[in-house]
Amino acid sequence: MIAGPPILEVQNLSVALPISGRMVPVVTDLSLSIAPGEAVALVGESGCGKSMTARAIIGLPPPGAAVSGSIRLDGRELTTLAPRERRRVGGRGIGFIFQEPMTSLHPTLSIGQQMTDSLRYNLGLSARAARDRARELLARVGLPKERDLLNAYVHELSGGMRQRVMIAIAVSCDPKLIIADEPTTALDVTIQAQVLDLLIAMRAESGLAMLYISHDLEVVAEFCDRAIVMYAGDQMEAGTPVACLKTPHHPYTRGLVDAIPHAGETRARLSPIPGQVPALGFWPGGCRFQPRCPRQDQRCATRPDLAGVAHAEVRCWHPLVGDAS
């Protein structure tokens, strides 16, 4: 673990969205902190609230969302800032990488315009200085110098190149924290490997803290220091990603690991989690995982607190311990 006061500290974050006339919880009471240089992963299936957590942190929740709790960036509370001030603090302090670079980059603005906008707004650079810096950044993310990418448009670039541009924009104002939401999911395997390597290298180079959102524990295990496993808006387990994979303590984490075929798999059948992820607005009371859980009993009608099990934190009345069979 890396020492030092956290770059990001989120406490009791809850998010609710208006869905057919009522407020439906999508994230419940989530707390996490990221130290300088640390990479923390939010892992879970679709609808678990991992992306919504990221959007709440950067101050861009969907319209009508109710966000409560505390979000501190480098010691400064963000939730009480005026929108303009929050944009200023967040714009410089947090770089964001979205899953789909095709839709998150502007189709009719040149790459140069998109890159220099934030440089001029956040760093107050002149047009010329901003272009020079943009050119530098594109080289830094491994894009070919011989191509005049500043005057290119998104549609002229491949998926991997677009994601490199996104990364260049995300780090352009020297943020303290990068939030990456499934940045490699839309990419092919060989390109995914390139982009992951780039993120890992950038992090090592500049000591960036990172919040990495993914549905894949195995991707996360490669470079994240800690993983938080979410299910139905709730944190189920937190620990090192390798420990989550090898010795999961929460029955949901265990189920997730057993459901995926692994390299060199010798099982004749997979072990699926029965049932399905409950839809938003239909989450059960108590432990959210209990209707699908093999260890469920009457205690699970009450929501368990996060408790330490071995080196992990687990929200479960009946955590798996020992050989976790």
């Binding site: 299936e45 679709s46 491949s158 991997g160 190149m161 092919d188 395997v189 060989t190 390109i191 995914q192 490997a193 390139q194 992951l196 390597d197 549905h215 894949d216 195995e218 991707v219 295990a221 490669e222 189920g255 997730l256 057993d258 459901a259 995926i260 075929p261 692994h262 390299a263 060199g264 798999e265 099982r267 059948r269 997979l270 072990s271 699926p272 989690i273 029965p274 399905q276 992820v277």
Partner: protein, 318 residues
């Protein structure tokens, strides 16, 4: 002519045999000279990245897309020469499952109508028998009998994929072509559908052509695997050989790039070239770490390097 390059011997009785299959869309060479065979009851996987031609190959096999050249022999008949009517009759024995369980089921039809439709098209049974069969099929894919009167939108992605499987099974096919059938599903539900496919395959002796970009899923499910790159099969062999001892530099790179396999860092530089502008010689040479002069002017032919294992690479000669 029908024997795939290298005179490969098929262990089980051949159900589907494809030879020299190519498809161009205007200037784009989507599939080039693809040959493979699938035995009865076998699971054959095609892996590749986007633009590799794997989905086009799946559609060509069913003649949902007309091949530019090549032979497709299914149950001993050349599909290309069949008349429209004969082709339709033959389709009863081959069915397809698509990636998107939201877009592939007509939302205005009940589940019963969806599952009966293929039986009506192929004139199987009378109305009462078809209704009985719907119940039986729903049971097979693990859905309640009551599902028959409901509509697709009332079901989750995993359940819809079960409905698509029930529909595919309705005509008792011998071959199911599944194009990324679990890619759109959450991991916890993927396993349910993969297990179901395995069970049904064993119970009915189905052959499965499984198309996927997910190396972990393919390794789990398939007996034999073909690796495609830019419209070409670059390597084909038994699952265990391909994963333990790949011979083509692209297969190696693909495996080295996959998460969960002790990745050693990005194995390949650069992007997949456009299929409009294919490299001359070996299609992989622009990204191949081992490319040498010969690769630039001569496309490698397939060579058998072990029983059932063939590779299209000049370096596989030694």
């Amino acid at each position: 002519m029908l024997a795939p390059p290298g005179g490969r011997r098929i262990v089980t009785a051949t159900l589907l045999e494809v030879a020299g299959l190519s498809k161009s869309f205007h200037l784009v060479h989507a599939v080039r000279d693809v040959s493979f065979a699938i035995g009865r009851g076998e699971t054959f996987g095609i892996v590749g990245e986007s633009g590799s031609g794997k989905s086009t190959t799946a559609r060509l096999v069913l003649r949902l897309v007309e091949p530019t050249t090549g032979l497709i022999r299914f149950r001993g008949q050349d599909l290309a020469t069949l008349s429209k009517g004969a082709l339709r009759r033959e389709r009863r024995h081959m069915q397809m499952i698509f990636q998107d369980p939201y877009g592939s089921l007509n939302g205005r039809m009940t589940i019963e109508q969806l599952i009966t439709e293929p039986m009506e098209v192929h004139d199987i049974g009378d109305a009462a028998e078809r209704r009985r069969r719907v119940g039986q099929l729903l049971g097979e894919v693990g859905l309640p009998e009551a599902a028959r009167h409901r509509f697709p939108h009332e079901f989750s992605g995993g359940q819809r994929q079960r409905i698509a499987i029930a529909r595919a099974l309705a005509t008792e096919p011998q071959l199911i072509v599944a194009d990324e059938p679990v890619s759109a599903l959450d991991v916890s539900v993927q396993a349910q559908v993969l297990n179901l496919l395995l069970d049904l395959q064993q119970r009915h002796g189905l052959a499965l052509l499984f198309i996927s970009h997910d190396l972990r899923v393919v390794e789990f499910l398939c007996d034999r695997i073909a690796v495609m790159y830019l419209g070409n099969i670059v390597e084909e062999g038994p699952k265990t050989t391909i994963y333990a001892a790949p011979r083509h530099p692209y297969t190696r790179a693909l495996l080295d790039s996959a998460p969960g396999r002790a990745r050693k860092g990005a194995a390949l530089k650069g992007d997949i070239p456009s299929a409009r502008n294919l490299p001359v010689g070996c299609v992989f040479r622009s990204r191949c770490p081992l490319a040498f002069d010969r690769c630039a002017h001569e496309a490698p032919k397939h060579r058998m390097v072990a029983p059932l294992h063939r590779v299209a690479c000049h370096l596989a000669e030694e």
